[in-house]
């Protein structure tokens, strides 16, 4: 369904997974490699049709690992690349996600989260990859994970994921869940003039002067596309600025710290969050993704009952919005952390909020969303 409203914004009614696919195209993505997995598969369905229409490439690889590999290969040629997966597929991709991190290849990975460890609940909601997103691959590396709650946000955050991946030369995750993936709601497609598209920094020096990991101009080194005359080496080994392996402890330390800095020194550009009635809040609620929508209702219902509740909704989950969490922690008597898992983000809230009162969880893992009433009960517990 397509319709133009008065501001000439196209109004559509698409399921979340289709919104992801269309946003990727709008962001300039021209390469997708994936592997079938519920509940993310519709993203691949849509892109297998749409990408060739815009001259892009779609490939279904033999497994999740290969999909991640192909993605990185294509990224090195200069394309904006993207894959979508869910729980087990995200686990399988982790090694090559680490590879993308160390060679600093821009790529976007959408994880439509589902429930359970292992095969778990393949077709039901979960938000159980909070910590996998942060620590899933071995070793230290910076992480960006975006967690939209509404389909217009799914659209804008998917575009933002591409921009951040390109700007900072790193994998960026978008974590949605089964509910958002299959939900359809009214969505106004922003006109391309309403958002900016960012490309990776490319070298300005001639090939003979190119140093692949030259950080003299900043923590994000310019990246040359393959086959443009800049011949350079990429390796998963720790490397120096020439890109070749090194075991020099000082260089390894400096390079890993530089990669961390790409995120830690750009928090203002990365962190996004929303607050609802937190100004005078006495009870805090923290929730992300589809659960945050139930939390919104719970907070409104609490207010109706005279309880001063307020919601902090991280739209960037990693790096965690520490400052607003700390501010919230300062003013409230207690915090409810609602998430469709057995308690993951709560560790982060406990760590940063410095709340004098209790921090308790509202958790559910059976594949059914947390209902507003359940969060409200927890709020009332804290009163």
């Amino acid at each position: 369904m397509k319709n133009k409203n008065k501001n000439e914004r196209e109004v559509v009614f698409w399921p979340g997974n289709i919104v992801v696919a269309e946003a990727a195209i709008a962001a300039g993505c021209r390469f997708f490699a994936g592997y079938p997995i519920t509940p993310s598969s519709e993203i691949a369905h849509a892109l297998s049709k749409r990408l060739p229409e815009v001259g892009g490439k779609f490939i279904q690889m033999e497994d999740e690992i290969a999909a991640m590999g192909a993605l990185i290969g294509a990224s090195l040629t200069g394309l904006k690349v993207f894959t979508a997966t869910s729980g087990p597929g995200f686990s399988l991709k982790q090694e090559n996600i680490g590879y993308a991190s160390i060679i600093e290849a821009p790529c976007v990975i959408v994880n439509v989260m589902r429930g359970g460890p292992s095969t778990g609940l393949p077709t039901a909601l979960g938000q159980s990859d909070v910590m996998q997103a942060r620590w899933g691959t071995h070793g230290d590396r910076p992480v960006i994970a975006l967690t939209p709650s509404y389909l217009d946000e799914v659209y804008s955050e998917t575009i933002r994921a591409f921009n951040l991946a390109e700007m900072l030369r790193m994998p960026v995750f978008v974590l949605i869940d089964e509910v958002l993936g299959h939900l359809s709601e009214r969505l106004e497609i922003p006109d391309p003039s309403e958002y900016e598209l960012i490309d990776r920094p490319r070298p300005t020096v001639p090939p003979e002067e190119y140093i692949p990991y030259d950080s003299s101009q900043g923590d994000v080194p310019p990246m040359a596309d393959y086959f443009t005359g800049y011949r350079w080496h990429t390796t998963g080994l720790n490397h120096d600025k020439t890109g070749f392996p090194t075991t020099d402890p000082k260089i390894c330390q400096e390079e890993e710290e530089r990669m961390e800095r790409k995120v830690s020194s750009n928090l203002d550009k990365i962190i996004s969050y929303d607050e609802f009635m937190t100004e005078d809040a006495e009870i805090g609620v923290v929730a992300f993704g589809s659960t945050a929508r139930a939390a919104m209702v719970a907070v409104s219902d609490a207010r109706d009952k005279g309880i001063k509740a307020g919601l902090l909704r991280p739209i960037t989950l990693w790096p965690f919005p520490e400052e607003p969490a700390r501010e919230l922690g300062k003013k409230v008597k207690g915090i409810v952390v609602a998430e469709a898992n057995l308690g993951q983000m709560i560790y982060e809230v406990e760590r940063v909020a410095g709340c004098n009162g209790p921090v308790i969880g509202s958790n559910k893992v059976g594949g059914v969303p947390i209902y507003p009433g359940e969060i409200l009960e927890k709020i009332e517990e804290l009163v």
Binding site: F31, A33, K49, P52, E53, G55, K57, I59, M61, E62, D63, I65, A66, A67, M68, G69, A70, L71, I72, G73, A74, S75, L76, T77, L79, V81, E95, N96, Y99, Y226, F227, G229, R231, W232, H233, T234, T235, G236, L237, F244, P245
Partner: protein, 279 residues
């Protein structure tokens, strides 16, 4: 020296890290001569590897080189080639990398018939990780993890590639560099997925455990195990038992290459879109 090796090498990365007497050097030389013979510019070439001794080769070659994760070289290569079908992609891998951890990618790259040339250096063992047995270690052979002899049946790598749909399959060995160059060149020229298995030596890990610690002895034993495909045609099954047939083993020029097939998909999708627009 017939070829200008230095044109393709990163001379500042030499000396290499391989053991003295290792066959990989011979293979890299043959590969470079083949690059020169087909006149491919370094700027149009990507050399991709996984993990292992062989996989260190790209570091020494002055082109777009990608040293990836263990077993996954072909998946990265598929991404590079599919994104830029007009450029050349070569993968160099070992027996463990290509046929164990990367076995799934191997058969699917064969099936897709994407225009990538894969060189598998088969030295019958995991060299870099410490001499563990691989999917090509002969039955009875000793390895770090088969101290009492190997009971796993090895793969026949070329038959595997052929069965999976590779459209150019060849086997060479390090005692015949001229033939090897010719086989690699054939693979580079072939428009489709080409697999060249190269029988090689690891005296350090395989030889030492199997009474062939001297590289000359090991190379000799490899050489003696081979029989040229033309000769093999005249031999019976018993005579061929235990022999490695070398040469061009299989070629199919008729199957469409993957990227070319996908170009047609793009065309079909764009035409359909245009037609929708017209209506």
């Amino acid at each position: 020296m017939h070829a200008s090796y230095t044109k393709y090498l990163r001379m500042n990365r030499i000396p290499h890290m391989w053991c003295p007497g290792c066959g990989i050097g011979i293979i890299v030389k043959a590969m470079i001569r083949a690059f020169e013979a087909v006149d491919w510019s370094s700027d149009d070439l990507s050399l991709i590897s996984g993990i292992g001794c062989t996989s260190r080769a790209p570091g020494y070659l002055d082109m777009h080189t990608l040293h990836t994760t263990h077993g996954r070289a072909l998946s990265f290569a598929t991404g590079v080639k599919f994104a830029r079908p007009d450029k050349h992609v070569v993968v160099i891998s070992g027996d463990g990398d290509a046929t164990a951890i990367g076995g799934n990618h191997l058969i699917h790259a064969c099936r897709r018939n994407i225009d990538i040339t894969l060189i598998i250096v088969n030295n019958y063992i995991y060299g870099m990780t410490g001499g563990q047995y691989s999917p090509t270690t002969p039955v009875g052979a000793k390895a770090a993890t088969t101290p009492w002899g190997n009971v796993d049946i090895p793969f026949n790598v070329t038959e595997l590639a052929k069965g999976a749909g590779a459209t150019y399959v060849a086997r060479g060995h390090i005692a015949s560099g001229v033939q090897l160059e010719r086989l690699i060149r054939g693979g580079l020229n072939h428009n489709g997925f080409a697999v060249i298995e190269v029988l090689s030596n690891c005296h350090t890990q395989f030889g030492r455990r199997n009474r062939l610690a001297d590289p000359i002895d090991l190379i000799d034993s490899i050489s003696k195990s081979t029989v040229n495909i033309r000769q093999a045609a005249k031999m019976n099954k018993e005579e061929l038992d235990g022999k490695n047939v070398v040469g061009l083993l299989h070629r199919d020029e008729d199957r469409m290459e993957y990227c070319e097939a996908y170009e047609q998909i793009i065309e079909r999708a764009q035409n359909a879109q245009k037609n929708r627009g017209r209506r």
